[in-house]
Symmetry: D2
């Protein structure tokens, strides 16, 4: 079900994500590297955290007439990277990332993801769904995606996580989306996919972290509720925030209304986070994200 | 500087705010009271908290042909109220509430309040401004409002609060607005004006309560910041929320940008809260508000 | 796939929607009707258009101990209605409306509707999908819903509309949702389902009515785009607006980005409109809606 | 009342705004120019309109150790500009623009501007206010700003515009803000200040251009209203849009409520537009804006 890229251009291009200590000459050196090799810059975004003196850049360029072969770019750019002490990653537009979905019994985000997938809105593969409930099994079949039922209890958690990791390797998964997966992943599990596990939390973090945020929001009497998508870290609901959005509520809304309104938020906030991830628009530092929109 | 009411109607009308245990016949009895006395209902809003079985109502009616004189309405209605065990308050449209402003050195909310006041956007009187700094003194003079400078230290706080209470009584103040007043009021002070002190907090509560919320929001890397207006209770930043609003931020925004964007939010959120308060649109229960918008 | 109602209460209840010339005694008479027959009001919302002196009300009450049998309520209430010259409609919570979906080749709204349907988020039946393209056929099968392919040309439009009406009757359809159906319905067709055809238009109406609104929005350089759900009338994109929402865009967004961002808006705005419709929360007058939220 | 810049940095810096036909080597050449002269880039934003193949850039750099004196930068950069056929403008952080305010009888935006000015939120001078009414005269005095009363009729418009232009020259005004100025400026007048007259229109353009937009919005029954700030061109309400924002309304809101809610929008949208203008963040092409936020 792989599709032609709906974005940037239909041509081949490369994306570099770079961060390093700020200093003079960075932009000139990077753009000169591309220009002198006959590349045409499609997008360039840069940002400097003035407080911490860190430089961030996302640069995308057309590979059409680029003089360096795609598989040699990393090696050539490495020399510049070393000179400026850069952390960097290179992505080629041909690459189609493989995404696993973890889900429990709330299925609205899963439906939304699979609809976008089947509509070819995203240039990805979804080879498998893993769940601790059977609720999603029918949908997985409906959308022709492998489903693995791995119920988790306090006792079997280590074995089940081992089984999950085995599956992720077998299916060559690049990143994981927790589409309302109601289990806390161990720090050990998370360490296998650093900045590659995307969660959707049903509150406006840092308010109402943890369980039952809609109930807490109702009890506090807030006038606005939110949803937050973030990368998963070892600390619960505390990873780098990718995207948030909110919707207005009132005293007329019971908890079930917050849940109903919140579901629509969750779907959209998670989808936007995934979009930014697969477009290589996200850099992470200090437990925060730079999103090159 | 009192002005004709810009709202509801230019005629005389009464507003009843009612809460009581839910039971059959409440609406029928209240509306029959008004109808049988030849009143014309202008607005009626009611709400039932199904979980706690509490009934809430705001009802406004024209006094033009109403058979009960304005000053006797309370007495007559009292009989119905007793029958249904109601908590209630009656406001007449002729009443012009007197509002005191407490402010420190951040003046954007004060400017906004005084501009609305001088423009006669609100039907209120602002007889005095109290501050622990001299920063607002010139503005007070500019807008022809009495200014009282009462610096607060750990040692003199009880005396200064006593002096404040004295001034509030002398100026016959009905409610207080803390327009970025950077002092915590004592529980004793608050008890003199229950549900009559409105604060603006520069975060999306309950996230980032307390000091320096914009710095905390920046450090956490949130993608949206907010402001919250609430009634002041003895517990800091934990009173019933009246209004909240938010604005989107990004990694490009430094703390000073959050402050700049937040100021505009604070002005509007506080102004909306005051509007709802002076229009008698707010009922309070369980540390939450019912806003009859 | 009919399900227990997720809303209001799980008990049986009735909803009355009423509009009439404003006059004294309306609320008292209506609520007395319910109270005297031992009904318990669950929700009551009323509104007066002061300019046109029109009264609107939505009232929902529990039928548990109500003394009038459900099938006789209309007759009994009719006497009150006549006295006050009311237009009114009565809905019982047991009723499950049947919704037809019309769609063309943009399928995101269809996916969203069917996902909500299969998740039992809405208490409705969707017996059929009608389309002028074959694009939706596979999805219809996937969700086990009858699909009818009725291609429309300038020449065959009258016959195809006749065929559509025949299907709608055969499937006993109560209301129609145009989920990005790219054909203009004739005034004759619309007259068969007055205020029962819900459209989603991909702009913030009245801006950019008609074809290619995202292209027009791009050309005008707006900073915000929107979506509008409205009842279909004989005049294109000019029916009563049910719901609107917006999302921020910038110069960085090409037309394809407006389309991408707009799709998410369209899904949510249409879903909210359907929700309000099936909850009997909408009254229509002067080509506008009163939404009792 | 000129103040130290609250933004970017307190140091001296330069800002270049550039647009030209897109081609390879642009970014490399511009950044090399700065780097080779020992400048440190503070901000860099670029954008390419792929459809029209136009390149846009905003680049800000520190002048601290820059080898070219500030008053010679233009000349040196001119050589690069000519090579790439650039349209460009250079701004130095020391420059304090002078802003004239035109206003009629709605004063909320004026209050907001003057409050920000007096609070030194903006690094500008406001030497004069021009009005066709006397309503703003007191406020002008209150804020110690010259006020010129120039009533406009159909007959005297050319003479009054001539007088206005004379005043603008005399006060050395750099740009004009129409803070709800209810007169249409002639094309001739506008031609004196191309892209330097900022208007606030009280609707979500292009919906409801022209007079009485709140009344039109009410009549159409929209669920959201907006405000739009744009540069003034010869065609009414059709200039390049700088900023827009919206607020939700409902059937409960009468026209006066739309006006009340809209006023707060207008203040904020206009203020944001002015902020972007004085920060040199705006490029204009094809009657649209590129905002480098």
């Amino acid at each position: 079900m792989t599709t032609a890229s709906p974005n940037e251009t239909d041509s081949h291009f490369a994306v570099l994500l770079i961060s390093c200590p700020d200093q003079k000459g960075l932009v000139a050196s990077i753009t000169e590297f591309i220009y002198s090799n006959n590349g045409n810059i499609i997008h360039l975004d840069q940002h400097v955290d003035v407080q911490h003196k860190i430089f961030f850049m996302r640069i995308a360029w057309d590979l059409e007439d680029f003089r360096i072969p795609a598989d040699a770019i990393g090696e050539v750019f490495g020399a510049i990277a070393t000179r400026f002490n850069m952390a960097w990653s290179l992505q080629l537009s041909d690459f189609v990332p493989r995404m696993a979905v973890f889900v429990s019994s709330q299925l609205h985000c899963l439906y939304d993801l699979l609809s976008r997938y089947q509509s070819q809105e995203w240039r990805i593969e979804i080879p498998l769904i893993i769940s601790n409930h059977r609720a999603a099994e029918q949908i997985a079949h409906q959308f022709h995606i492998d489903f693995h039922y791995l119920p988790v209890t306090r006792d079997n958690k280590p074995e089940q996580e081992a089984r999950q990791l085995e599956l992720l390797r077998a299916y060559q998964v690049d990143f994981i989306v927790l589409a309302r997966y109601m289990q806390i992943l161990s720090g050990d599990f998370v360490a296998h996919y650093p900045n590659r596990i995307i969660n959707i939390h049903h509150s406006f973090l840092p308010a109402f972290a943890g369980a039952k945020p809609y109930h807490s929001a109702y009890d506090r009497g807030v006038k606005i509720i939110g949803a937050t998508s973030h990368y998963v870290t070892a600390e619960l609901d505390n990873g780098p925030i990718i995207e948030q959005d909110v919707v207005r509520v009132s005293h007329k809304d019971a908890v079930k209304d917050l849940i109903r309104k919140g579901k629509d938020l969750e779907k959209i906030v998670l989808a936007r986070a995934i979009w930014n991830h697969i477009q290589h628009k996200i850099l992470i530092y200090n437990n925060k994200t730079v999103i090159f929109e």
